[in-house]
């Protein structure tokens, strides 16, 4: 249990996918303008991360490892995740229309998101068990949501501000703000050791 908590807190705060590992920057900058779309995107990412981990882990252990084909990992994972997202979309459309509608366009958008691929590959690299992988995927998704919501607040403040120099307006100041938020997250390094040891 302690180990799970370490993985969960670690993946949310210390190894935050967006702000520490710099994965999934595209949706982080693209969809963080409005709070509701930021939350929608994050929920979809969390969902797909968990599903992708659940599917890729057995494939890695059952097929790739057994037949010594670790070099196929990236391409097989991309293929499987893309197919999986399509399948999930069809199933949701049929059986849970409200969820399908609320996830909306975000579901197909994250089919080949590097954060999703990243979490599945990292789970293998870290040699987690299946359960640990799932916890890590969940933590990564929640960390993504935390980063999105935080940055959404920063951005709405920035958009209101009239004091930004003309040449920094728009994307430049957004990138600078993202880097400052990222620097702030560096303060979490070591938190896990302090909490659980």
């Amino acid at each position: 249990m302690k180990e799970m908590m370490i993985i969960l807190v670690g993946s949310i705060l210390v190894n935050n996918f967006v702000l520490s590992k710099f994965m999934g920057i595209c949706p982080f900058l693209g969809v963080s303008k409005k709070l509701d779309s930021a939350v929608g995107m994050s929920v979809a990412v969390t969902f797909v991360m968990a599903m992708a981990t659940a599917v890729t882990y057995p494939i890695q252990r059952g097929i790739l490892d057994r037949f010594n084909m670790g070099y196929l990992q990236t391409i097989v994972f991309i293929l499987v995740i893309a197919a999986l997202v399509q399948l999930v979309e069809i199933v949701l459309k049929k059986y849970i229309p409200p969820l399908y509608r609320s996830l909306g366009i975000y579901l197909p958008l994250i089919t080949t998101n590097c954060a999703v691929l990243g979490v599945t590959i990292l789970n293998i690299d870290e040699e987690y068990t299946f359960l640990q992988s799932m916890v890590n995927a969940l933590g990564a998704g929640l960390g993504f949501m935390l980063a999105m919501v935080l940055f959404c607040g920063v951005r709405s403040r920035m958009d209101e501000s009239k004091n930004i120099p003309e040449h920094f307006r728009g994307l430049p100041i957004t990138l600078i703000a993202a880097s400052i938020v990222s620097v702030a997250f560096m303060g979490f390094s070591g938190v896990v050791e302090g909490l659980f040891h």
Binding site: M69, L72, I75, V76, L79, A83, Q86, I90, V91, K93
Partner: protein, 263 residues
């Protein structure tokens, strides 16, 4: 050579399996889309404004096709849209109440004073939460344009500190009326042209102190109107669009000039 063949075969096999699963899934879990819904959806403007009372054009199309909603609820689409839907469904078209938004404030910059220097977030809702806004008249337009940002048709602009609605672009969806924290925007029938551009319920003397063009409730317009379309209620004249014939006599007698003819 062999590793390449193994790799290609493996990836191809996994791709094939995924493809088969997807094909089967899309076959067995296909949703029958009602042809009527598609047809109705094509008639709608697609603005997703919510004026019909449903959460967007898709849902409205579904309800209309299912017979749960009237064909005349789409305000932006107007009469033509209702006729198109009726034709697509093979029912008789009803009459659409075409509306337009009207800003009931004409207190442009300089007509009243500012109570405090507002430095916060530049939205009406935020400004309104501080002592009902920065203007001396607590009924007046705050001019930060919450209505402008909510309008999907770019029909609203802020001119001299007061929102102005372009009648040609306004579709009558009513989104601005819902968002305005002062409830200044009223939806009236499209053919009405006369409106009292003031919402102040303050007593005449006080209104006079606060704003040079506020309605002081002097009853002149009510006495002048031959059609009984204008009445003063709680110190504020209100035009009843169902009785008003757009003659414009009230406009001439108004001492403060807050009854206006809108194009």
């Amino acid at each position: 050579m062999t590793p390449i063949i193994i790799a290609v075969v493996t990836v191809a096999a996994i791709g094939l399996i995924a493809g088969i699963i997807l094909t089967l899934a899309s076959h067995f879990m296909a949703i029958k889309v009602d042809e009527k819904v598609v047809k109705v959806r094509e008639c709608l403007p697609g603005a997703n404004c919510g004026a019909c009372g449903y959460a967007g054009c898709d849902e409205y199309a579904e309800k209309v096709a299912g017979g749960f909603a009237k064909t005349t609820l789409c305000v932006p689409g107007g009469q033509k849209c209702a006729a198109d839907i009726a034709e697509a469904l093979g029912v008789e078209a009803g009459e659409v109440k075409e509306l337009r938004g009207m800003v009931r404030c004409c207190g442009t910059t300089g007509k009243d004073s500012m109570v405090y220097d507002y430095q916060g977030v530049k939205t009406c809702a935020a400004c309104h939460s501080f002592y009902q806004g920065r203007r001396s008249c607590s009924y007046g337009c705050l001019g930060y344009g919450d209505c402008v940002s909510v309008c999907k048709f770019n029909a609203i602009s802020i001119e001299n500190g007061v929102a102005k609605i372009d009648p040609d672009l306004c579709t009558g969806c009513g989104a601005c009326a819902k968002i305005c924290p002062k409830h200044l925007i009223y939806m009236i029938p499209k053919k009405s042209h006369i409106c009292v551009a003031c919402s102040s319920h303050n007593k005449g003397a006080q209104t006079r102190k606060l704003c040079t063009s506020g309605c002081i409730g002097c009853m002149k317009c009510q006495k002048t109107c031959k059609h009984g379309a204008i009445s003063v209620d709680q110190n504020l004249a209100v035009v009843d669009p169902s009785l008003c014939v757009n003659c414009g006599e009230c406009v001439e007698v108004c001492p403060v000039g807050c009854i206006k003819i809108f194009a």
